[in-house]
């Protein structure tokens, strides 16, 4: 069965929620969980056609940079 870009985006959103609620608990744990979800999203994006995958990979990379920046500031 073909991977749906929406399934990848859903994982990206899940990572967003983990990051958004990170300040409610141990932020480092939340950021680590968000990174794991982004890894999962990237693996799934690898099954998409290149155009769809590239856009989603760019979104995933932006979020990894955000998390690194936020984590350094905690």
């Amino acid at each position: 069965m073909a991977t749906d870009p929406a399934a990848v985006w859903k994982l990206v959103q899940r990572a967003d929620e983990l990051v958004k609620y990170a300040q409610n608990r141990d932020p480092h744990t939340a950021y680590a969980q968000a990174r794991a979800v982004l890894d999962e999203a990237e693996a799934l994006a690898g099954q998409l056609d290149q155009k769809a995958a590239d856009g989603l990979r760019a979104q995933i990379e932006t979020r990894r940079s955000d998390i690194a920046r936020f984590e350094a500031a905690v």
């Binding site: 985006w9 990206v12 967003d16 929620e17 990051v19 958004k20 609620y21 990170a22 300040q23 409610n24 932020p27 979104q59 932006t62 979020r63 955000d66 920046r69 936020f70 500031a73 905690v74």
Partner: protein, 195 residues
């Protein structure tokens, strides 16, 4: 959750939202420190330019507005009493230029949110320092956050410290990351693929 038999309350909840009685803490970034001695609020871009200290900003004309919050993560919180200064008052004092059509309202950690000037000049849009009669807690954007009741709440920049006036639209932090540029809750405009 709200009681479904309360139609007046249910009618205030946009599609896809549920009511919360608490106030969840949301922030992608860490909570920035606040020092009233060094805090500044700046206006840049298409305006004459302005800068206020915390005491100066708090001395701006105060207004009180009660409005509902609709967060894109699907909770809504009704009847929030805000005290602060209208965006329109700040823009006027900054000498906004006629060619300004949009603005980015900015915060630490490179956060920003974009909106058209027309939307920001609405009489329910303010920079709030109090919530329900108490100083706005830092975890909720204190000392100062923008409040734009007609849009999803990410447009209401927490820890606001700058307005940049622009003659074009420029997507903000979440808008670049796949979230809707307009963000109207009653139209459920959550993601950029809906645009």
């Amino acid at each position: 959750m709200f009681r479904k038999k309360d139609p007046a309350m249910a009618a205030r909840i946009p599609p896809g939202q549920h009511l919360t009685r608490g106030w969840p803490v949301l922030s992608a970034s860490p909570i920035p420190p606040f020092d009233p001695a060094t805090w500044r609020f700046r206006c840049s871009g298409l305006c004459n330019g302005a800068e206020w200290t915390w005491d100066e900003f708090r001395a701006l004309p105060q207004t009180s507005i009660t409005s509902d919050i609709h967060c894109v993560t699907a909770w809504s919180k009704l009847d929030n009493a805000w005290d602060g200064v209208l965006f329109s008052e700040v823009a006027k004092r900054a000498g906004i230029k006629p060619e300004a059509t949009h603005a980015l309202v900015k915060a630490p950690y490179d956060y920003d949110a974009n909106l058209p000037i027309d939307a920001l000049m609405d009489d329910d849009v303010l920079f709030a320092w109090n919530h329900d009669g108490e100083p706005l807690e830092q975890k909720h954007g204190g000392p100062l956050r923008l409040v734009v009741p007609k849009r999803y709440f990410w447009k209401s920049t927490k820890w606001a410290n700058e307005i940049e006036f622009l003659d074009h639209d420029q997507r903000g932090f979440w808008e670049v990351r796949g979230y809707h540029n307009d963000a109207f809750p009653w139209e459920e405009q959550r993601y950029s693929w809906q645009e």
